[in-house]
Amino acid sequence: MADQTPPEGPDRRVVLGGFLAAATLAVGGGMAWNIARQPSARVTVLRHRDYDDGLAAHLVEGIERYPHIIAKARGGRVVLKPNFVEFHAGRPINTDVRFVASAVEAFRRIGAAEVLVGEGPGHLRDTEYLLEATGLDAHLRDVGARFVDLNVDDGHAVVLPHDETGFGKIHFAKTAVTADLLVSLAKMKTHHWAGATLTMKNMFGIVPSAIYGWPKNPLHWKGINQSIFDIWDSVRPGFGIIDGIVAMEGDGPIMGTARPFGAVVMGDNLPAVDAHTCRLMGLRPEKMPYLEAAAKAGGTIHPWRIEALGDAVAAESFHILDHLSHLRA
């Protein structure tokens, strides 16, 4: 298992402050500085109300707003990482299988040499069951794409630049972290512990359960917010796309209810994509510790630093559990 040198980044103490002393930093000049140091980001929202045949073309239209992503994908190996967790008939727990197939088609049209779909389901160990029950297996066969079970993939150790979890390094699925372009293909869902599970939380699935167990228990044991941050911070997936056509609200990520929202959100700065999506859900991203930490480590969450592209889609108020009421906008 190879080690990867951590990328240059802010000092660990800067990020730690996000978890420990957010309030004290959010005053006066400190606040302005924190906003100004967030790089500007562009998030695209596409109005799309159904999982129809036109979705792939619409996705291409959105991705084309990011020429450097097109350059990475063209001729390269693209790994799409959807969110597949469990299967309950009628519950929008997972990235819709038609959405996944459309994304495969979109990246092929852009010119990717190979498009793989990789996931390491966090809950169900029986990936074969999950693929068949959700229909993902059949849809990938239809579009001729290969599925890689990231739970049993070879490990590729990456040193954690800020190490909020204390792991020092994490063995990620090699297929995911060695891709020319890793795309988080998330589902728009509330989450009963983290507030929302979007492109950053979706990256739990690149941690192989054959090493870390189910449901990636060490990540929860070390702290869900710290783990979300460390995984994003160390891997920095190139692109994120959120399936918000039919979202989930309430007791997500599993036992919530369907909420038709009719939109796709995408961008190359995952914290910005997640923060913008939170606002569309009626949530306050700055109250989510992992997003606040990301904002101090090169991510963007402040609305002043996010340029919204695409269609005008109004924010709604997603139902969340009472103990998360502090996240309501």
Partner: protein, 277 residues
């Protein structure tokens, strides 16, 4: 001969040292111990030096009838009973009123919480290797009793979260039944729950269900027949995966020979007459 076909495929899938999840892949604990349970010769040198990770929990059971590995088995059993940290003895935690987080079971990863499946693996190893009189065995059974879902089966984790009952899953339920002592009060309802597997089958769930039914005197044949229907022409199961093919072979071994390392010797009911078409 489906069992022999699966064994031939597994032999070809073996890497230089042991088995990986995919043919010829990096050797890993889980596929290797299931391949041994299927009846293949254990790669003893590799097993002696490799980090089997959580697969150390079922290893003693999987190799319980393999000759020449007695010392390894004892080492694995001692390890799974070792309370010193870091170990796979599950950490206890106050997780609310509904689930008793203070029952010690076993974990997937050192120094984390106890979960259903690793606890099942440890219980099967202790029982198959004559250590079921150890106090940890009774505690593990108590954990399974605590986590049973309202529908009679087992979820991979808790039976409820934030006041909401969770459904059971076929695969976890099969392992829990395989681990429970014969005659346990939860077996009957659990076996009934296993029938759901036939609606949405998978290689692993069918294999474990067949083993669980065989162990408890139930009818494994519907699961065995559904399993056979999934065998690829090359003898493999489950999209060419070693771990799935090996578990299927363990079930077929029990079905054809009336014994397996995960169940011991079982008394199977007569197989219904097969009809053409």
């Amino acid at each position: 001969m489906p069992y022999e076909q699966a064994i031939r495929w597994l032999k070809q899938a073996r890497g230089e040292e042991a088995w990986g999840y995919l043919p010829g892949g990096t050797p890993r604990g889980e596929p290797t111990v299931w391949a041994c349970a299927a009846g293949l010769r254990p790669p003893t040198e590799w097993l002696a030096r490799a980090d089997l990770e959580w697969a150390i929990l079922p290893a003693a059971a999987a190799l319980s009838d393999s000759p020449g590995v007695e010392a390894l088995r004892e080492r694995w059993l001692d390890t799974l009973l070792d309370e010193a940290q870091p170990s796979l003895s599950g950490q206890t935690l106050d997780v609310g009123d509904h689930v008793d987080g203070f029952i010690p079971g076993w974990a997937w990863f050192p120094e984390t919480f106890s979960w259903v499946e690793p606890t099942c693996f440890a219980l099967i190893s202790l029982e198959r290797c004559g250590r079921s009189d150890h106090p940890r065995y009774a505690e593990g059974v108590r954990l399974l009793e605590d986590r049973v879902c309202v529908d009679g089966g087992w979820n991979y984790g808790n039976d409820e979260v934030l006041g909401v009952d969770l459904p059971s899953y076929a695969h976890s339920s099969g392992w829990a039944l395989l681990a429970l002592p014969r005659g346990h009060r939860l077996v009957e309802a659990g076996l009934a729950r296993l029938q759901q597997i036939l609606e949405r089958p998978s290689t692993r769930s069918l294999a474990v269900a067949a083993l669980a039914a065989g162990r408890h005197g139930g009818n494994p044949w519907p699961f065995v027949d559904a399993l056979l229907a999934r065998q690829a022409p090359d003898g493999s199961f489950g999209m060419g995966r070693v771990d799935r093919t090996a578990l299927a072979a363990v079930a077929l071994r029990m079905a054809s020979r009336g014994t397996s390392p995960l169940t011991g010797t079982v008394a199977l009911p007569d197989r219904p007459e097969q009809t053409d078409g």
